[in-house]
Symmetry: C2
Subunit: 157 residues, 2 copies
DNA sequence: TACAACAATTGTCTAAGTACACATTACGGA
DNA sequence: TCCGTAATGTGTACTTAGACAATTGTTGTA
């Protein structure tokens, strides 16, 4: 390992350590929902929230489970009132999955919770700090590119 | 909404976007392990990795499960070769839990994976950007205070 | 119009994760 | 030394998650 790589590793460590607080915010927002839905269930809500009504098989595939498992998994979510099965306009053998009002509200609440937490923290920083944070994070997000949806999905994010 | 609030919203948005990128990194590192250990099991490894050998009851409490549940849960992890029960030097009725070499390696691999990902992202940024990112995150961390370990743990962080 | 392929569900089974009640062993103070 | 309490483990039962096989209903095509 040459000098540059070692320095890189230190910088990466420092960045990860500093980012822990940010991760804490996200974790808290999700953890708050775990009383009402499990993490896998929340993942489904997130998928439907971003993709809109989606075929059973498609969501099952995204979740990485086989359709039979998924069907009964969805039974529970329907019973809980988070999602609904709906007829597909394309084909009568397809079943679309969509969020109920409760399901949508849950996802929105998590996002809102997260944003409020972040705002609260930002409000204790000076305008200068806020501005430089904004630019630095923007650069980071650009450098990172879009995260793989499948990866985020695993953690329900 | 006045000007200040709009600026706040922009900073909050940038922070949310960055948190998403960051989560992508973290999630990807954890996802890679889920073939061999479940998320609850990985959480135990994380606890032991940071706290060292720890009493059964203490870890059970951190995991939020009752001791009887935890005992059999640990049976499975012992069978998997990830942790070991060890006699406590303090008291013969206490049982310490510690990582095996495999367990430690698994956690280390995840950490290393995560560090490498961050390094890769940082390497596409200018040194100036890297430095300001680190300082900005540090400022955020200072403003946020210590994240609740329990929240992070839920996601295996 | 048959028939093969497809989408979802149901039948059956296994294992993980969880709780509650109880048993076992070990400590520690009266 | 005795006895209450603490730490862990067992017996039992339930839910969730997952797989594979078989079934039902639908589509599309030879």
């Amino acid at each position: 390992m040459d000098v540059l790589t070692a320095a890189d590793a230190r910088a990466a460590d420092a960045t990860l350590a500093a980012s822990r607080a940010l991760l804490g915010v996200v974790a808290r927002s999700v953890v708050a929902t775990l009383d009402v839905v499990s993490l896998p269930q929340f993942r489904v809500l997130v998928v439907l929230s971003s993709a809109g009504p989606t075929r059973m098989g498609t969501v099952a595939e995204r979740m990485g489970v086989i359709p039979s498992t998924f069907s009964r998994f969805i039974d529970r979510m329907v019973a809980g009132g988070w999602v609904e099965r709906a007829a597909s306009p394309d084909s009568r053998r397809e079943v679309l999955l969509e969020l109920t009002a409760s399901g949508r509200r849950l996802v929105d609440d998590v996002t809102e919770h997260r944003r409020a937490d972040i705002s609260a923290i930002l409000s204790t920083m000076t305008p200068d700090q806020q501005s430089s944070l904004q630019h630095a994070l923007q650069a980071f997000a650009d450098a990172a590119g879009e995260p793989q949806a499948a990866d985020l999905l695993t953690l329900g994010l």
